[in-house]
């Protein structure tokens, strides 16, 4: 029982990441009709926003320590971050410790700006081009983005820790009447789940309750008609692209403490996020979220020993098995609309 509850928690946690990425991807599919292979790269850049903020806050000056020598036998030096120098060891170190949450503030404008530049500078010219061209250009862009990150940050993963207060685990089992220390879950992963819930609700509320959202939803349903009403739908779509980029970026920032960011994490998530979006159904935001959590939970269950013993290798392929079953039984995914990306 405890194992199952833990796997559900794991599934919700994985699902949060999948759902956030798929949400942004669906926004772009649904509003702009563009197959964006660079979406994973946006997630990756989000993670590297966290890395960058951590690096900026840790910018240090060197002091020579004559009592020690370095590996070449020269007098060794030690680093003091300017932040620590300015604000004192306690508060300064505290700021560095909180670099991931601080990175959110940094990432929002950066990601929106990247989204705008991408849409205005590149994607805009591809709305009327075949999907094949969109794939080629966004895939090229994804490679370029990840290679640029690799050039500056290297290929090795970079640890970007959560603030000290979130590092322990929460004893979840006690709440449910289990013994202490049976069902524990890391605070930061719970934070991630809560964060995802907030972002997803915010996006839905934004689309549901604002005039802007209404126009965009109408545009998703029928672009031409909205255009005929004299509404400048293009400008709104640009904003949507910025929003999608920001959602992917924030998902990445908050993900940094869970798994150390590396330059190819975007590609690792790319295929998976497409599967999530399609299983959810093209053009359906609730579908994307639902599929994200569904696949996350099923993936977690499939990695249980009991399941693997039953079907060897199932943990390797579960996502794809589910995708095939869903697509064969429900032609347009879980909640897809007719006629979207079927040609």
């Amino acid at each position: 029982m405890d194992a199952i509850i833990l796997q559900i928690l794991n599934g919700l946690d994985k699902g949060s990441a999948y759902a956030l990425i798929a949400l942004g991807l669906t926004l772009i599919f649904g509003t702009l009709g563009v197959v964006n292979f660079a979406h994973g790269a946006l997630f990756m850049i989000g993670s590297f926003c966290a890395v960058t903020v951590q690096r900026i806050l840790s910018v240090s000056f060197k002091t020579v320590d004559p009592s020690k020598t370095d590996f070449l036998g020269n007098p060794s030096t030690y680093d003091t971050p300017y932040v620590v120098h300015w604000f004192g060891p306690e508060f300064g170190a505290g700021i560095i410790d909180w670099s991931v949450p601080l990175a959110i503030l940094f990432a929002i404008p950066i990601m929106i700006a990247i989204g705008f530049i991408m849409e205005r500078g590149l994607i805009k010219h591809f709305y009327k081009r075949p999907h094949a061209d969109q794939i080629l250009v966004t895939f090229g862009l994804a490679i370029v983005l990840q290679e640029v990150i690799k050039y500056y940050y290297g290929a090795n993963p970079i640890q970007t820790g959560a603030p000290e207060v979130f590092r322990g685990s929460f004893d979840f089992g006690v709440l449910l009447g289990f013994d202490p220390n049976v069902i524990i879950y890391p605070y930061w992963r719970l934070v991630y789940f809560a964060f995802a819930a907030v972002i997803i609700s915010a996006v839905f509320a934004f689309l549901q309750f604002t005039t802007f959202g209404m126009v965009v939803r109408a545009g998703m349903a029928d672009r031409e008609t909205v255009g005929l009403l004299g509404i400048n739908i293009d400008k709104r779509f640009t904003i949507m692209f910025g929003l999608a980029a920001a959602v992917a970026g924030l998902a990445g920032v908050m993900y940094a403490p869970i798994n150390a960011p590396n330059y190819h994490m975007g590609m690792d998530f790319l295929v998976l996020s497409f599967v999530v979006v399609v299983v959810g159904g093209m053009g359906s935001l609730p579908g994307a979220v639902l599929a994200g959590f569904l696949l996350g939970i099923l993936e977690s269950f499939a990695s249980m020993t009991q399941v693997i013993d039953l079907i060897p290798g199932i943990n390797q392929i579960i996502i794809y098995v589910v995708a095939i079953i869903v697509l064969l039984t429900r032609p347009r995914g879980l909640m897809g609309r007719k006629g979207v990306m079927e040609e």
Binding site: A3, Q7, K68, L72, A155, N156, P186, A260, F269, N315
Partner: protein, 454 residues
């Protein structure tokens, strides 16, 4: 910066067929009329360094490449000579190899067998490389070793840790300086017993491919011999990035040791996740829960950051070895000085093994008096040497595996800087990690005959 000289093709032009419109056709496999592939005919010899430059091991590949460049400099008598001065064999004199200046070409393995073979082939077919070295994974090493055997050039393996490289997939033209999974297990077992006792229950998470399996098999055998129990072994997909669903079952499994048979990004992620779930601070059966990462590397330690603290594993070499464990490991400091002065940071174990392999190849050629791969193979087989940083070492003739001391290391609790993330716990002497060439974990293959390619 050294300049690359004439390529081999240029040499053919100036040497053999100057001015001729059409030379006599020859079969390339017998090209230089010397009975072996890519025999150098001019005043240079070309080595091929095939390392991962893209993909997750790109940083490790970059470090290997630095070491190769350094080795070539030293062979050509540039720089401070590095380990040439400490190397027990004195056949090399800093004038290249057999009087020929050493040049090199590089390629990208992408950590894929296919791409690695394509890249190695291009170096052999296009650039006339006579030896291929490098690599950062066992799949690639075995694949490229097979290619070199077929093509008739020598393969000096880089970082490859699977038992198979010198076990069931061994080849006459292939040589490995790096240690292997069996040696890791043999070196770790006594230390684990000292540190954690003989009554332990281990839970294995294993990367689901051949290297992971051989390592898991080795560690399980060695720890069970100590009296440990193995609670479970779960295979994790290579593509996994979040290991939470593999870590949570460990929590209540009754195990008190977690063995992570992962490497590179997999290891960084699984260890990070394990620490997140509080395993490092956990108490089970009245004992501290422990995590073991059998194969360690400096880059992984860097990637894992603070999570690595106190985690035990094994290494082939460490740059602090001579300073801490004495003059037996001479060569280490010479190499670290030379590398550090050029690049500004100490070398990794991947760099050391690649540097040593290049020197060993050059030395064997010099002693054999020819670049013929079979003669070089004979010179390397059964060769005993010292002064390359690992202490006295034997290149065993039966399987072309080097036998030398193995380091047991652990993550430093309070590293003084980013170069001291790993500290040496103990050095396990050669005898303890030596095994019979017919050991079941290595059985099933044969070196076969050496292939000079003619």
């Amino acid at each position: 910066m050294s300049k690359m000289n004439l390529t081999r093709r240029g040499v053919i032009k100036t040497g053999a067929v100057a001015g001729a419109g059409l030379a006599l056709p020859t079969y390339l496999s017998a090209a230089a009329h010397s009975g072996y592939t890519n025999a150098p005919t001019g005043d240079t010899v070309t080595l091929g360094f095939n390392v991962p430059q893209s993909g997750p091991y790109a940083d490790e590949g970059a470090d290997e490449l630095r070491a190769f460049e350094l080795a070539v400099e030293h062979l050509n008598g540039e720089g401070d000579g590095g380990m040439l001065s400490t190397f027990s064999s004195k056949a090399l004199d800093g004038t290249g190899i057999l009087g020929k200046k050493v040049t090199f070409v590089t390629g990208d393995t992408q950590t894929k067998s296919d791409a690695a073979r394509a890249s190695a082939k291009s170096m052999i077919e296009k650039d006339g490389a006579i030896m291929i070295s490098g690599g950062s994974s066992s799949g690639v090493a075995v694949a490229v070793q097979g290619l070199c055997q077929e093509a008739g050039v020598v393969f000096m393996a880089g970082l490859t840790h699977s038992n198979d490289t010198t076990g069931k997939d061994k080849k006459a033209n292939g040589f490995r300086h790096f240690f292997n999974a069996y040696m890791s297990a043999a070196a770790l077992a006594p230390v684990l017993k000292n540190l954690y006792g003989a009554d332990r229950a281990a839970y294995h998470l294993t990367a689901d491919y051949t290297w992971g399996w051989t390592q898991q098999e080795s560690i399980q055998a060695a720890t069970e011999a100590l009296g440990w129990r193995t609670v479970n072994n779960v295979l994790t997909p290579l593509a996994a990035t979040d290991f939470s669903s593999y870590i949570t079952p460990v929590l209540n499994s009754g195990a008190d040791v977690l063995v992570l048979n992962h490497y590179g990004g997999n290891m960084v992620n699984s260890l990070t996740n394990a620490v997140q779930f509080g395993l490092r601070d956990k108490q089970v059966n009245g004992k501290n829960f422990e995590i073991v990462v059998p194969l360690y590397s400096e880059l992984m330690a860097k990637g894992a950051g603070a999570n690595i603290k106190g985690i035990v594993g094994s290494q082939n070499w460490d740059w602090k070895l001579e300073n801490q464990m004495g003059a037996k490991y001479t060569g280490t400091n010479a190499f670290v000085q030379s590398f550090g002065n050029k690049y500004g940071f100490p070398p990794s174990q991947a760099a050391q093994t690649c540097y040593a392999q290049t020197l060993l190849y050059a030395d064997a050629a010099a002693r054999a008096g020819t670049f013929n791969p079979c003669a070089i193979g004979e010179a390397l087989a059964g060769f005993e040497f010292d002064g390359l940083g690992n202490g006295p070492t034997l290149y065993r003739a039966d399987d072309h595996q080097c036998f030398k001391d193995v380091l047991v290391v652990k993550g430093a609790e309070n590293p003084e800087d980013e170069f001291h993330l790993v500290e040496i716990v103990e050095v396990t002497p050669t005898e303890q990690v030596t095994y019979d060439p017919n050991h079941p974990m290595f059985a099933g293959g044969a070196l076969g005959a050496c292939n000079p390619g003619a």
